[in-house]
Amino acid sequence: MNRIGRAGVLVTLGISVARLVWSGQFGWFVQQRMRWPLVAAAVALLVLGAVEVTAAARQERRDPASARRAAGPTVGWLLGLPLLVVVAVAPTSLGAAAAARAAGYVPSDPRSGFQPLPDEGPVPLTLFEFLNRAVADDQRSLDGVEVELTGIVVHDPALPAGADFALTRFLVSCCAADAIPLQVAVRGAGAPYPDDTWVRVRAVWRPSATPYTELVRPWWVEADAVSVEIVADPPASPYESPY
């Protein structure tokens, strides 16, 4: 890789990162809090690239032979590969296919310290919060409370009998490669919904007859739907964050 090629890689990379942030598509790959670090990285890449383009052009005028000498390793061209993959394969946010290949989130052992929920429902909760309260809250704060959960529809052959779909969202702490599916088996959904449909479900937790700790994995946290509504605009971040 010579100096001109190197400058080209820097500029291309800077523009692609800026586009990823501008379009909001970065949220398919990483958490929302990476927005400003990515903007800073794009700016730094563009500044580096601009300085390098100028320097390479000057060098080309003065001493064309030296401008063509190696200024970076061949492996550096691979930096173009993620861009190529984004254009050619058009990956999107994680969906039913990813959930099917993965083991779901299992909350830790029972503990106290959960804040009481408001009496007036429906209470909007993240799936992360819902699962934690269902499994780990020794005060059983979810008992009889109507909650509002948002996620995608996933049909899993391992769903318990009587459940219509697994309401699913992914817990992502850094990037999609560390995603853990958060899943609640929903009963009484009424109409059928295809995989990967974004829905808002109002539901009530259906406690397990056997304590969760005594169940054989994989087991499910279940909920009885009050209403299911298709969400036209998916949330800005398709993922939940543990923080």
Partner: protein, 306 residues
């Protein structure tokens, strides 16, 4: 992790189809996007070090004796909050600027493992086991200092001889030009290898069968070995690895501590980046050393603290 523990989960086996290619692409691109800001920060700092930090300055600031310099470098790792991708070019330029390799390598190992962001993430992930944070801090620090001390005594200095210094003469403008040149060179260098590591990590995430893990969780020795190897293969950021371990409650706390201590010091993408920046001959010796010391340190600390 679930993604991580892909293929045979819930009894389903899928051969590569359109879904798999898309999933692989999402995983691959997300590892690259996540690492890029840290890499850019790392190469900008390394460029500045390369152009402005002279061997004379290093000699004034870094303690001469390794038994002081190595722990000091370990503590200095706290100052770089982030994942491991940025620390590789920084370590390279520190060595090129005349820092004793043992101290620079200690910094390389400590920075991604012992910083406030990573420790806070660990505390959030293990609300019922607050000792996990202390155990992680201690085991990672011991690993970094032990590897650094070993390198100070036994390390082969010729392995890092290829890291040449750019020179320090010239006025301010010339130095900035050199900083930009060094940062650009490191970026395409480390970045190219980062892409190699990301491809490997995405592939492994789709291939590791979960059933194998369930089978070994009951045996403590096998559990430690399995999670140590998994940490290397999965190449998850140090900020995220604790949450991945929450997904494996069937494993003992000690074996999960091993995962948290091994991952930040050695994994596929670090091996790729280190062999690119610090040299293949160096990495061939350094990586197994880090792996062995990290496993040992985590097991001992796990027995005592957890």
């Amino acid at each position: 992790m679930p993604l991580a523990l892909a293929a045979l989960s819930r009894g389903r086996v899928a051969w590569a189809d359109g879904d798999d290619v898309r999933l692989w692409s999402t995983l691959f691109v997300s590892v690259c996007v996540q690492a890029l800001p840290f890499l850019v920060l790392g190469v900008v700092l390394s460029g500045i070090i390369a152009a402005f930090v002279s061997p004379e300055l290093v000699q004034r600031v870094v303690p001469r004796r390794p038994f002081l310099a190595v722990p000091a470098a370990g503590v200095a790792g706290v100052a770089l909050p982030g994942c491991e991708c940025g620390s590789v070019p920084i370590a390279g330029s520190l060595i090129a600027a005349g820092t004793p390799p043992a101290a620079a390598l200690t910094f390389l190992l400590a920075a991604p493992a012992i910083n406030p962001v990573v420790l806070a993430a660990t505390a959030v992930a293990f609300p019922n086991d607050p000792r996990m944070v202390a155990a992680r801090l201690l085991a990672s620090f011991v690993t970094a200092v032990a590897v650094g001390s070993w390198w100070a005594r036994r390390g082969d200095s010729t392995l890092l001889a290829s890291l040449r210094h750019a020179g320090h003469d010239g006025d301010g403008a010339a130095r900035w030009a050199r900083a930009v040149d060094a940062a650009s060179r490191d970026l395409v260098h480390a970045g190219g290898w980062l892409v190699v590591g990301a491809m490997a990590a995405a592939t492994i995430q789709l291939l590791v069968p979960r059933s194998v893990l369930d089978a070994v969780a009951g045996n403590e020795v096998l559990a430690v070995a399995a999670l140590a190897v998994l940490a290397v293969l999965l190449s998850i950021c140090s900020e995220a690895d604790a949450f991945v371990m929450v997904g494996l409650p069937q494993f003992s706390l000690t074996s999960r501590l091993v995962f948290l201590v091994v991952g930040p010091v050695i994994d596929l993408k670090l091996i790729a980046m280190q062999s690119g920046i610090l040299g293949r001959a160096f990495t061939v010796r350094f990586a197994p050393l880090c792996f062995a010391v990290a496993v040992l340190s985590a097991v001992v600390v796990g027995q005592v603290v957890l």
